[in-house]
Symmetry: C2
Subunit: 333 residues, 2 copies
């Protein structure tokens, strides 16, 4: 591999001059600049990003930590992060935390040790306190899908209370009042907020929350199936199931159909997240949008603005969910 030194010799200039033409900023005469560029071309010179990092104390790498890499969710987010960052010639190092506190902390330290210039975190198990402390250290962090008031400017998140509210409001307005609710794991803020929105809508319509028609799942399909098995065993009648995400809705609908309960004729469903797949099942699932791609992109922009000092980037911290109306909610009005 040719080094900056080889280039300087071939071009008949000093090391520093070569460095200068690489880093555009400083002034070099057109003539010498051309000489250097020709020499680079001729040698097929590629700068060593590692040496650059060591000398400049800037690694041009961003660590991204997510709960899991698979599933329909994080892939979409990663896509946007990767493309926004690579366009800026930064690279992204990934790690998965698996929603486990120890693993998440370990992953954060791993990324920090790697000399990342910034961290984009989508974590669920780490405490607010830990994250607040982390945010005060040298390496800047930005949080996706999480809101911590003390560091609100570093949070890119969805208004989940509103999303939960919209979903429930929608089914109420379609004449459903006997409602079952399949929640996400309540130790996750998302799950709690969506439920909070649900209850808020119920309160506005003077509908009681029925504990016997409530099930706490884990956001994965099988728990939706389990939830449905549970609900079908209850004595209480219900006409609609509100699910805290589309994956659980899918599991629940699947069980419902197995029990020959027709959807939506006998039972309505509404999901959350607007995953790509449930668009293709029958009936097509009504749901609430979760602009995870946009949020991923925004986190990348946050880093570009605040760490790499690109001005004229506008940061939006809070995103607003929208109803996606399809065929899984029957109109009882």
């Amino acid at each position: 591999m040719a080094t900056i030194y080889d280039v300087s010799i071939l071009a008949g200039v000093s090391l520093a001059t070569v460095s200068r033409v690489m880093n555009k900023n400083t002034n070099v005469s057109e003539k010498t600049k051309k000489k250097v560029q020709d020499a680079m071309e001729q040698l097929g010179y590629r700068p060593s990003s590692i040496a650059q990092s060591l000398a400049s104390n800037c690694s041009n790498s961003i660590g991204v930590l997510v709960s899991q890499l698979n599933g329909p969710f994080y892939g979409a987010m990663m896509t946007e992060i990767e493309s926004a960052l690579r366009n800026a010639n930064k690279h992204v190092i990934i790690a998965a935390g698996h929603s486990d506190e120890d693993q998440e902390r370990e992953a954060v330290e791993f990324l920090l040790d790697r000399g990342c210039d910034a961290l984009i975190l989508d974590v669920e198990a780490l405490s607010d306190d830990y994250l607040i402390a982390l945010s005060q250290k040298r390496t800047p962090i930005v949080l996706i899908n999480r809101y911590i008031s003390e560091i609100a400017d570093r949070c890119i998140h969805l208004n989940n209370v509103l999303g939960g509210y919209l979903a429930t409001k929608h089914v109420l307005s379609h004449g459903h009042t006997k409602l079952a609710y399949i929640a996400g794991p309540l130790l996750k803020p998302d799950a709690r907020e969506r439920l909070e929105g649900h209850k808020k809508a119920l309160a506005e319509h003077d509908v009681n929350f029925d504990d016997t028609l409530f099930y706490e799942g884990n956001f994965f399909e099988p728990s939706g199936s389990d939830a449905m098995e549970y609900l079908l065993k209850q004595d209480t009648h219900f006409t609609c199931v509100i699910c805290a995400n589309d994956q659980m809705a899918s599991g629940a609908i699947s069980v419902s159909l197995e029990h020959h309960v027709m959807v939506p004729e006998q039972l309505s469903f509404i999901g959350y997240d607007n995953f790509p797949f449930p668009k293709y099942i029958s009936p097509k699932l009504s749901t609430v949008s979760n602009p995870i791609q946009e949020m991923g992109k925004m986190a990348a922009l946050w880093v570009l603005k605040n760490v790499y000092k690109k001005p004229d980037i506008n940061i939006v911290n809070t995103f607003t969910p929208q109803l996606i109306l399809r065929d899984s909610v029957k109109n009882n009005q």
Copy 2:
């Protein structure tokens, strides 16, 4: 940040000794080792992986290039790669090539510039020749989902001909002889191989391949829908649709149901890939397994064995697909 130098002073030893205790291998007396470790602890010392990379000419980073980060496929693969590699204290840098030749080449160069010790590539647009040439350069590469005979030992791939064969064999054995086929984009090897297996099974059963019941899709859901619209307009009768992947199968089934063609009573379907989602639709999709996780893990192991010289790792280059029988194929026997 404390450096190795600070540690050496606090411990009252030389720089080299500190380096030695970090890199286990060489002999250091228990006593001095303890002194050094205490000093490290006290200073909260963390080695700079960047300086290590520069000095050792080994970045401990592996570049992973996939077509896309989203979708149910690559996420599963990335999960295994990331976890296998991080357990070995290596980090993975990701890039997406979007099935475009220019973007794939650019991404390869990007990762190479980043000083990756090895590249794991799942690429579709780059030519065999390019990859063969690349494999002869300094940085080792391993290919997933692709077979190139000249560099067979660097290929981790699925026997797609067999998979295509198994799927068609299965429906033939269930009495289906009027078959429609929705292919993937034929410029991708996967798609061609699956089709080849299909034709092989047809030949064995003396069933003709009907051009009017053939549609070339692009592996995404909407093209499955388009395919189905096309097929339903044909005069030729058929009882089963064989799809080159589950996503197109989902799109096709969706359209089929919209046209009130019952599945599987009136029309059978079989997919390919065993994506997680179609397990939860009705009817549950019969398909062919694609052990993408295992293949991802194997690629990581290949790197560990061949680049980081871990012996006693066994590499399996070719994986074998299996039929996953569920409810979408009616038995006409």
